[in-house]
Assembly symmetry: C5
Homo-oligomer: 104 residues x 5
Amino acid sequence: MFIGRITGSIVSSQKVEAMVGQTLFIVEPLRVNEKDQSDLTPTGRSFVVVDTVGAGQGEVVLCVQGSSARFTKETKTLPIDAAIVGIVDQVHIGSTEIFNSTEK
Amino acid sequence: MFIGRITGSIVSSQKVEAMVGQTLFIVEPLRVNEKDQSDLTPTGRSFVVVDTVGAGQGEVVLCVQGSSARFTKETKTLPIDAAIVGIVDQVHIGSTEIFNSTEK
Amino acid sequence: MFIGRITGSIVSSQKVEAMVGQTLFIVEPLRVNEKDQSDLTPTGRSFVVVDTVGAGQGEVVLCVQGSSARFTKETKTLPIDAAIVGIVDQVHIGSTEIFNSTEK
Amino acid sequence: MFIGRITGSIVSSQKVEAMVGQTLFIVEPLRVNEKDQSDLTPTGRSFVVVDTVGAGQGEVVLCVQGSSARFTKETKTLPIDAAIVGIVDQVHIGSTEIFNSTEK
Amino acid sequence: MFIGRITGSIVSSQKVEAMVGQTLFIVEPLRVNEKDQSDLTPTGRSFVVVDTVGAGQGEVVLCVQGSSARFTKETKTLPIDAAIVGIVDQVHIGSTEIFNSTEK
C-alpha cells in the first residue's frame, strides 16, 4: 500500500455502469523524505482511486493497488485497481512522529 | 486508475480470437502538473487499452489496469490488462477546475 | 497492453513442465515518439513473452502483462506474466499512420 | 519479493473494517549495492505493508506484493497489496555474507 | 517474464509457515544491451525469487512475477510474487547468439 494526499477529484458522467455513484479522487503518493526522514514529501505522480471510507479533500490516506482494491464490501465487483482503505492519523519513523492529521 | 488522452489506435488482423471486434486505442497517461497543479500534462508513455464506453480520438478517459480490466461485462473473458472505464468530464484540484471536456 | 518488437528468443531446456513446447520471445517495448508522435521508438527494456498467435522475429506485436496473460486457450495454466495476443498491422496517431507492417 | 527495512509505522483509526487490529509498517526497500555488491543500500522508496510474522522496528524483512500478499492465514481476506512474510537473518552474495541481523 | 542472474541467497528462519523449505534466491534482472544488442547487461535491481527448477548460484534464469508465480506445482499455495520457471541455455537476438550458458 502507499500513503497519498487527496488533491482533487474527477467527474465522469459516461462510465461503466457499476461505477455510477462512486467517488473518484485524485491522490498524489507521498514518501518519507529521503534526506532526514523528517516528513512526508510529494512524489509528483497522480493516481485515481475509489473512496471506501468517507475521506475528503486534502486528507492523507492509505491506498491499496491491484486486485486487492476489490477486497472491500463496497468495491468487490468494480473494475478498479486502486482504493482508499484508511485515513492516516499519524506516521512515525522510529519513535518520531513525522505526520499528525490534527496539525496543519 | 489513471487519466489519459486517446492519441491513436491500432489495427491487428491476426490476434487472439476473443479480441476480434474490440477497439484498441493508444492512450497517453496524463498527470497533474507538478509545478502549480494548474493543468494536466502528458507523461510521454504509451498504453494500449480496450474501450468499453464508446470513447473517441482525443478524449480524456479513465483507465484501469491489471486484472480489474476484466471486471466489465464487455471484457470479462479477454486477455487484456487495461481498459477505458469512463470518459472524464471535469478534473478538480481543490476547488479549481483544471480540465473540462467541453473546452478545447 | 503495450506494443513491442520481437528482437530475439531464448532457449531453456530445464524448465517448469507446463512450459515445454512454448515459444519464448524477447520483446522490446516501443512507444510513440514523444517529440512529434511521428513514429514508434524503442524503450531499451527487455521482456520475455510467450507467443500465442504465430508471430516471428522482427514483427511488431501487442503484448499483455500480468494475470491476463493466462486468459487465452494456449496459456491458461502456464506460469507466465506476459503473452503476445496480436500482430500489429498499423498504428495511427490521430489520422496519421505512423506504422505499417508491410513497409520496411 | 523484495528485501526492506522497517523504518516506521502508521496509525489509522478510520479504515476498512477488516483492517482493524492489523499492524501497518512503513518499509524502505533495499537493494544490493550496485558498485561492489558488498552491502544492502536503501532505495528511498516507501511502502506500507501488513506484518504477518511479528517483525519490529528496524528489522530487515522479506515482503511480498500484489495478490500474493493475501496468501497467508492472517491476510487472506484483507484489501492489502503488500505483506511481510519473513524476517531476514542473513543475505549472501556468492559466498560472501553481506548482511547478518545479529550485527549492528 | 524477465531474464536474471542468480547473485545470492537469503536466510530467513522466522517466516510464514508455508515458506519453510523454500529456496530464496536474489536475482538481478538483465537486459539486452541497448547500444548494440550484443550481450546481456545487469540492471542493478534486486528481486527475491523462489526456485522451482533446481537452479544455482551464478546461473541465468527465467523469472515470472505476480500471481502467475503461483502457477507451478511447487508454488501454488505460497505467498510469493516471483519464481524461477526455467534455466536459460541460450539467448538469440536475431540470428546472433548473445548468451550461452556453457561459455564463461
